[in-house]
């Protein structure tokens, strides 16, 4: 286990190094950050002063060294947009995205288990066809479109939910629902198909001839065996969310999360904030994935990882 962990940490380290380099190269490619950070009317003297203050006038290699140092210590410079430490902004918006992810993807995870399992009980049956159809439709609808429709219906017409922004739990309902829909569809399809596979396996027949109840067969026997692929996909859904795939939902609902902030950083040409977000996210994703692997090992001791 220790060896495995070390291996994974080493791999993660490489990923972070790659991300760091890629991010540095790209953010410096975008053009001159100084020009973009200052208003159209700024004078040359102002630009020079700004470059001096932010260290953007130094040789690119020196900037890179500083940058790697910042990345390693997680102490990035100030955001150009908000003129305060990028990390402060990151820590402010991270919980917002986590809340959205937990509510949306978490809800999808729970719901998909039930939907998928009940659909798998009788493949081709009415419930199965209903679930499959809904899942396919859910996967086919563009997320932003769903978001807009929900706003139109629940906020504008019914006036039961707030249109956008972040506040009490009511503000969470529509973004979470919109975020959940494709994940719910994917997870449900996975649960359904792996459950169908599993229910055709010999050990399920054993359980049947043992006279075990249907619920015991579904939840005690089969569920355990689909847990690894299921949790893998759950992990993917959460990773996707962290990796910025919440950005569409966040911008439709003006939800001040990571994706939204990253988008703002791009629009406002704030390379310092953007690189802080991207690198911190890579760290989180790497750690999260290592955690998942450990979890899998606990669920299924047969798995050999690393």
């Amino acid at each position: 286990m220790t060896k495995f962990l070390l291996h994974r940490l080493w791999q993660g380290f490489i990923v972070v190094i790659v991300v760091t380099t890629v991010v540095f190269v790209i953010t410096r490619l975008v053009g001159n950050p100084v020009d973009m950070a200052l208003p159209l009317s700024a004078t040359d003297a102002q630009r020079a002063e700004f470059a001096r203050q932010t260290g953007l006038d130094r040789p690119i290699f020196e900037q890179f060294v500083t940058f790697v140092g910042e990345a390693v210590s997680l102490q990035f410079g100030d955001s150009l947009w908000q003129r305060r430490p990028a990390m402060a902004i990151f820590w402010e918006v991270l919980p917002n995205t986590l809340i959205l992810l937990l509510a949306g993807i978490g809800g999808a995870i729970v719901a998909s288990l039930f939907l998928g399992i009940f659909a798998a009980v009788r493949p081709g049956g009415l419930l199965d066809r209903a679930v499959t159809t809904v899942a396919l439709v859910g996967l086919s609808l563009p997320q932003f479109w769903v978001g807009l429709m929900l706003i139109m219906f629940f906020a504008v017409i019914m006036k039961v939910l707030p249109t956008s922004g972040m506040g009490g739990p009511a503000y969470l309902v529509m973004p979470a629902l919109t975020l959940a829909l494709p994940s719910l569809a994917r997870l449900t399809m996975l649960v359904r198909s792996s459950m169908i596979d599993e229910l055709n396996k010999q050990y399920v027949k054993t359980a049947r001839v043992k006279g075990m109840s249907q619920s015991s067969i579904l939840f005690r026997h089969a569920l355990r065996n689909i847990l690894v692929p299921f949790l893998t996909l759950c992990g993917w859904e959460l990773t996707y969310g962290l990796a910025g795939f919440t950005v569409v939902v966040e911008s439709v609902f003006a939800w001040p999360g990571l994706g939204y902030t990253a988008m703002q950083a791009i629009q406002r040409n704030d390379p310092f904030l953007l690189q802080a977000i991207v690198i911190c996210i890579s760290f989180i994703i790497v750690i999260f994935n290592i955690g998942l692997d450990v979890l899998f090992k606990l669920i299924d001791p047969r798995i050999k990882i690393g």
Binding site: Q11, G244, L274
Partner: protein, 321 residues
Amino acid sequence: MAAISVYGADTAPPKGRRWELLAELWQDKAATAGLVAVLVVVLASIFAPLVAPHDPAAQDIIARMDPPFWMEGGSTTHLLGTDHLGRDILSRVIYGGRASLLIAAAVVLVAGGFGTMLGLLAGYRGGRTDSVIMRIVDAQVALPGLLLILLVISAVGPGITTLIIVLAIANWMIYARVVRSVVLGVREMEYIEAAEILGCKPGRIMFLHILPNLISPLMTLAILEFTNIILAEAALSFLGLGVQPPATSWGLDVASGKNYIFVAWWVVAFPGLAIAITVLSISLFANWLRVTTDPQEREKRFARGQAGALRRAAEAKRSAA
């Protein structure tokens, strides 16, 4: 599965197999509808200049945000109404399919080709090659994908080529993984060993003996990826990082119309619907195809259909009695 062998199944007449397939497809109404819709969309895109009633770029400043023909104020000149610049929505939807489908096809080709190559290489060569390639795959999978896509597009500037390259870079890994796993399975088979013993060159073995095994899984994967790319293109366009005007795509039309959704829903609804219908149709058909190319699944589907028919017949009898 029951240990039952059906002798003589292989003696079924080979003639008219295509018609048999079509008849089988006809049984699945959803898949049939899907196929028809996909064909309509593809043909309309190819022959857009012949099909579209108007020039998609022609602005009619008087007729801005006209509703579809069945609504009050709509007219048959613009069947699906006009957008915020007075352009014919039907024509734009027809033309928009070109970019959306083209981008999706290009991305699938590029990413699929690249991923398949690497997957073949990794699976066939094994050893160091395999572990290096798979490490790259793992590493890229762990990257914050969309953030990097946003980063790259914001650096290079949006456009169709950028979009294709970026989406291809972000999507090749899955092909490599699938291909590698299939190759690993096939490699162990006797006929490959036989071919090796006979002295076939690795390239020949790879393309002649291994590649055919990949066609079915790759087809299914490519079709599903195709739908993903259509949605991804729409999402990026929604964020203003996709196709740029004066080019047009469904995603772009949704994006440029998104602000008007509360006053002129049709501006967003029809391109959005085009996306949804295309993706849904492809998925329905792909689903059917996946089952059809898998003999076991195909049998199960047939049996389920039979069971359903029997059940319905029994119910009908009961209700009649």
